[in-house]
Amino acid sequence: MFDLLANPNRFKKITNKLEPSLLVISLLFIIFGLYFSLFDSPKDYQQGDAVRIMYVHVPSAWLASFLYLSLAISSIFYLVWKHPLADLISSSIAPIGALFSILTLITGSLWGKPMWGTWWVWDARLTSMLILFFFYLGFILLHNAFERKVDGSKSASVLAIIGIINLPIIKFSVDWWHTLHQPASILKFDGPSIDNQMLLPLTLMIIGFGLFSLYLIIVNVKTKLIEKKCEALILKLNLKELL
């Protein structure tokens, strides 16, 4: 089954059809999401207008974690099944995930100052999120650190897989330990504790961010495929000249 998806030509065929519609749909979700978040959703009973930061902060945090999971899974495919396309996918996901994790940290900081009274504290949730950002950075650095590309791909994949352990820590940090960060509002056993009028823009933004990242990843992978082709062509030309 994986061989079916791992064929670069088939990948291109499928994604060529998906790409334009993905971009349009994701932008629609984000535009409507932003409209509702900023203009057509109620203030919070405690936080007032500052709650609107949530509509960027929470989707970014979810995407940062979800993309990390995808990064780790495609790294497993690369290490175990040795699919070259899986490595291209991992290295395409990493910068986008890094972006979302830094966005989470920045928006969280901007939210923390007016609400908590501090930009940053070393509580378990904030620290584990920072560590997630470092795992992304480590992956990107390792991936580019070797003369032989295969070495970089392999060691970066190992790092990505080790980082999986951080994901449950991020998710449950607010339940396992006392933190300044509040516990989960949406994904919890007794249902979301967030008003529907606020859940709507949040859902739109999460879907929008998700589809937009998928679009970016596809563009990234395609660019890398073309790069590989160019490298191969140059190699061929050089060989011909030598002969």
Binding site: K43, Q46, Q47, V80, I165, I169, W177, H178
Partner: protein
Amino acid sequence: MNPKYKRLLILFLILSILGVATKLVLMALEENIIYFYTPNELKKKYGNVKNVENKIRIGGLVLEDSVVISKNESIFEITDKKDNIKVFFKGQLPDLFREGQGIVAEGILKDNKLIANQVLAKHDENYMPPEVADALIKSGVWQGEKKK
């Protein structure tokens, strides 16, 4: 064995060992990971010790009717519904500070009172419009946080 499955098995083994190791480390470091103690936990940890020179953080709810704010000092009590601790604080209180609100205060313990140098507000995981909060409190479904 098929080399693919061998690699998968090795990965799985390494991950489980790492997982267990992480769990153990986190358990051992629990005291450093928790961001604050509740008054009750503090009492359990320090027993009858009344002065702690190292900085500690205490979290809980601001006890109702305990807040006295004068020109240069705020005095209030933090409660976890079992024990209370009196807090003295000279700085600017966060906007969300009010009776019944979750807060975290950092400072040194002196004669069983916290001389705080920082007070942070902790907000809860409930998000709703003010009208909904009012309606819920009115109908008695939810007690809510006390208004300012």
